[in-house]
Symmetry: C2
């Protein structure tokens, strides 16, 4: 279960580290209002308990020559668990696929892909994705631009909900 309850300080820690994952523990402790040692212990606990899964530098794909970003909507012939898992396993193997989510409704999977250029993506699309086993159809949409990209959780809502509950 996700039984372990978080207090106000834990939520602040998560919010701060989500916003800046490289903040020093001293600075973090200052911001959440406790001293460094217990702060570090809380961070470790949050990591252990799975609230914090990992830390990542956000790298700019375009700066690295990945000019193309694409969302691919995939439909399969068979939605048996075995076939779904098989597709997911393949998705994990494709480097161009950065995210793979199973959806309800008409579309079975949505993939977020990056590619250095259009030819490379087209090759992946024709030789990899659409020709993969069990794939019924693929609809792709190029990303023109990104207006917002803040994965994670809206802690402003977490806090207002916690306040409302009390």
């Amino acid at each position: 279960m996700t039984g372990a309850r978080l207090d106000e300080i834990d939520r602040k820690i998560l919010a701060e580290l989500q916003a800046d994952g490289r903040m020093t523990n001293v600075e973090l402790a200052r911001r959440v209002g406790i001293s460094a040692p217990p702060c570090l212990r809380r961070v470790r606990a949050l990591e252990e308990l799975g609230f914090i899964r990992s830390y990542h530098a956000k790298v700019e794909p375009r700066e690295l020559g990945f000019e193309v970003q694409v969302f691919a909507m995939v439909r399969l012939h068979s939605q048996s668990e075995k076939d779904l898992s098989a597709f997911e396993a393949r998705a994990r193997e494709w480097p161009l696929v950065r995210e793979c989510h199973m959806l309800n409704g008409e579309i079975d999977f949505i993939l977020k892909c990056v590619s250095p250029d259009l030819p490379t993506f087209q090759r992946f699309l024709t030789e990899g994705l659409t020709s993969a086993d069990n794939v019924a159809s693929v609809k792709t949409s190029l990303v023109i631009r990104c207006a917002k990209d803040e994965p994670g959780v809206p802690f402003d809502i977490v806090e207002s909900r916690a306040a409302a509950a009390s």
Copy 2:
């Protein structure tokens, strides 16, 4: 321009920090094969030049009570730049919307949303998104499960391409 060329060490640094954004500089230096001071200078430079945009802890939404994740495909009536920008500005204001990408093709925008529960999302959908100015239609799909979530860049491809070019 993105003129500043990166060498092998820079790319290793980016790959390592993308995989573990909290790695100490000492460990990072050891892994990429140089000493700590020049390594830190390179990291700072990569941040300055925009290759590294930011650092984030990856927080598990479900652990924090955000049980619902949804992709919303939005179509607008008008695609004039003014109206597109207006929609983007609104998307940035909605806390439940974590990502907003403008697409080509039939769909104008795709939004990735999180919500504590279905009622909360339905309220946002009816009172916020679908009733917003200029929104023609919204199709939503619940995320059943996530098979892969590794935003960023596939450095294995960067390296093989660099090797091929040399």
